[in-house]
């Protein structure tokens, strides 16, 4: 059998047998399934939700504000004086109370008194008080429908149109962000793990001198190709398991939770681009790792050097909240085209704003070119430094020898 294929098979098998690999691959679908299952159990056991009505008090110094004292699940009880209201509050007869001062109409200030320590007034309370005031002030002066419309003035329904004026197939919204967001995080983890596997594998073979036995049987090219592809195939299995489990889990989640999960969709081309960027991203990281594995004398130093580009790859994730606010900033174009950050940046942007075709083309082209360049340099470094044990060359030496070697 072809020796590259033998190394490929060996590396693939050894990787998918690793505990770390199995845990990483299964933990995503299993955790999601567990979450759905637990939620399902809780909601099935609890029956229809019981909502308690809350009683709150108020003191009306304006006078005449005594209608509409039931606002949803909140009942309002009128007190004549603030002292009475306070007594009721400390005896837990009311949850809280508020005072409408006599100058309310001109000033608009409402004083709220509560025993609870809170960051801000709960929305339900604010809404109840607001609607109570609105209804009482407008009651009898305008038709009830108008009062209702003032209380809930709009329900915004947005439709995105294409440039030709038709309804666009992709409508945006948070439902689209979730899956690419999770996937880009997983992709980052996967790239980091496999870079570290490769550096670790090479480092161990170097430390145990097994690399010499291997190179007395196969060429450097065969060894590197077999290793990179073997680990890559294992990584691809992982990513495919994740991607394939997503639609399934999504169906399950939307039938269980409904609501927001019904709005979750996969962006167009997501699966195809997900695989393309995984493969290209992986090849770039593998080439970088082979170079690092070549110049570092042991596993520990190799892992430290790996941090440089794996942390760089995570930059788009650090700034992902900014992406939601400024989706059109030129920084995103830079991160999309810069090869180390491209895989994660593209996945994130697919969900938020979509990416222009030219940007994708440039990004893929730059990625492919950098893979070729890094692979060339890495193979060279591999040949030169493979058998240098014990001492890591400094940057100047590496550059000099890459030029002359």
């Amino acid at each position: 059998m072809n020796k590259t294929l033998l190394i490929f098979r060996h590396e693939f098998r050894q990787t998918i047998k690793r505990k770390g690999f199995i845990i990483m691959t299964l933990i995503v679908p299993v955790l999601a399934l567990l979450a759905i299952g637990v939620f399902h159990l809780i909601s099935a056991g609890a029956g229809p939700p019981v909502i308690e009505t809350t009683t709150i008090g108020y003191v009306d110094e304006v006078g005449g504000l005594d209608q509409h004292t039931t606002q949803g699940y909140i009942n309002l009880i009128r007190f004549n004086t603030q002292d009475e209201a306070t007594t009721a509050l400390i005896n837990y007869e009311v949850a809280e109370y508020f005072v409408i001062p006599s100058d309310y109409i001109s000033v608009g200030v409402i004083n709220r008194y509560t025993l609870a320590r809170e960051l801000e007034t709960p929305t339900a309370i604010t809404t109840a008080i607001k609607n109570f005031l609105t209804s009482n002030l407008l009651g009898g002066k305008v038709p009830p429908e108008t009062v209702y419309r003032i209380e809930a003035p709009l329900d915004l329904v947005v439709t995105r149109l294409t440039e030709t004026g038709e309804v666009a197939t992709e409508q945006g919204g948070y439902g689209k962000v979730l899956i690419p967001g999770i996937f880009s995080l997983l992709l980052a983890l996967s790239l980091t793990f496999f870079s570290s596997y490769l550096v670790q594998g090479l480092g161990e073979e170097k430390e145990s001198r097994l690399i010499e036995v291997l190179l007395s049987s196969v060429s450097t090219g065969q060894l590197l190709t077999g290793k990179v592809l073997g680990l890559g195939a294992a990584g691809l299995v992982q990513v495919v398991v994740w991607l394939a489990s997503m639609p399934l889990l999504l169906n399950l989640a939307s039938s269980t939770f409904g609501g927001f999960f019904n709005t979750i969709q996969l962006p167009a081309n997501f699966i195809v681009l997900g695989i393309v960027y995984f493969v290209l991203g992986y090849l770039l990281f593998a080439a970088l790792s082979a170079g690092v594995g070549a110049i570092s004398p042991n596993v520990r130093e190799g892992q430290q050097l790996t941090m440089i580009y794996t942390l760089l790859a995570l930059v788009p994730l650090w700034f992902s909240s900014l992406l939601f606010v400024f989706p059109n900033s030129p920084i995103w174009k830079v991160l999309t085209i810069f090869p180390v950050t491209a895989p994660i940046a593209v996945m994130l942007r697919l969900g938020v704003s979509g990416i222009a075709a030219w940007e994708l083309a440039v990004s893929i082209l730059v990625l492919v070119l950098s893979i070729i360049v890094v692979l060339f340099l890495a193979t060279r470094a591999f040949r030169i430094y493979l058998l240098m044990y014990g001492k890591r060359p400094n940057l100047g030496e590496v550059i000099r020898s890459l030029r002359s070697g």
């Binding site: 033998l6 161990e204 001198r209 097994l210 036995v213 007395s216």
Partner: protein, 297 residues
Amino acid sequence: MLAVEVSHIVKSFTDKVAVDDLSFSVAQGEIFGLIGPNGAGKTTTIRMMMDIIKPDSGEVTILGEKLSEATKDKLGYMPEERGLYKKLGVLDSIVYLASLKGVDKRSAAEKADELLNQTGMLATKRKKIEELSKGMSQIIQFIVTIIHDPKLVILDEPFAGLDPVNTELLKGMFSDLRDQGKAVILSTHQMNQVEELCDRILMVNNGRAVLYGKLSEIKSRYQNNSVLLDFEGELGEVPGVTEKRSHKGYIELVLDGKTTPQQLLERLVSRGMVINRFEVATPSLNEIFLKEVGKKS
């Protein structure tokens, strides 16, 4: 066809010349000793032979051709510091590394059984490498080196870290390999092993050849014309002997230029002495080594 032919190879690293114009050849059916002090350039020479690194100049021919992927299958190499995949099983390790030498899985497994049995290691077959002792994993490494029936076997310090029992076991297997017509290159600084096993040697120091040829010829070249004698009774004055050196259990008699050991023996016998041991003194390889290495450095 020569197993190895090395002509005028040179290899320098940034700070020093590791191998400087080295030439030698190794025939099939011989055990060849590559000896020299630490840092002499032995391992660098081996790596160039294995095509792991390329010489700056000069040529290496292995089994009549330049080293190619196909010739790599006819080579067995055991590097100086050894290691295998710690987490992998003994049999899996042997079969995988044999497959990289072009041996199919089934015959590799059969041959592995045979060699594990021969070395008394059959019980470790299902164990992981990390469960073995250092000596045991070294035996496994030797099995890996020869499982594909190579025509040329290169062993870098094969006895380092082995107990006397395993050392004897390996020595026997080396001799078997020679008897099967294979070329065995032994790189070591353990001179007693070289003396016992090797037919020819190359001694290197500072990357250059110091001594090269048949071991017996080299040793006779270094003879200092003395005999070792163990006897009973009084020796007295012996004609033709210029100096007597006492050692534990014997004395060394240095002869003058005209007397041969044969003549001395006749003289001693004619005196009616009881002779327990009479031996023409040849210096040990160790002495030659120390002398040569000391001289050059």
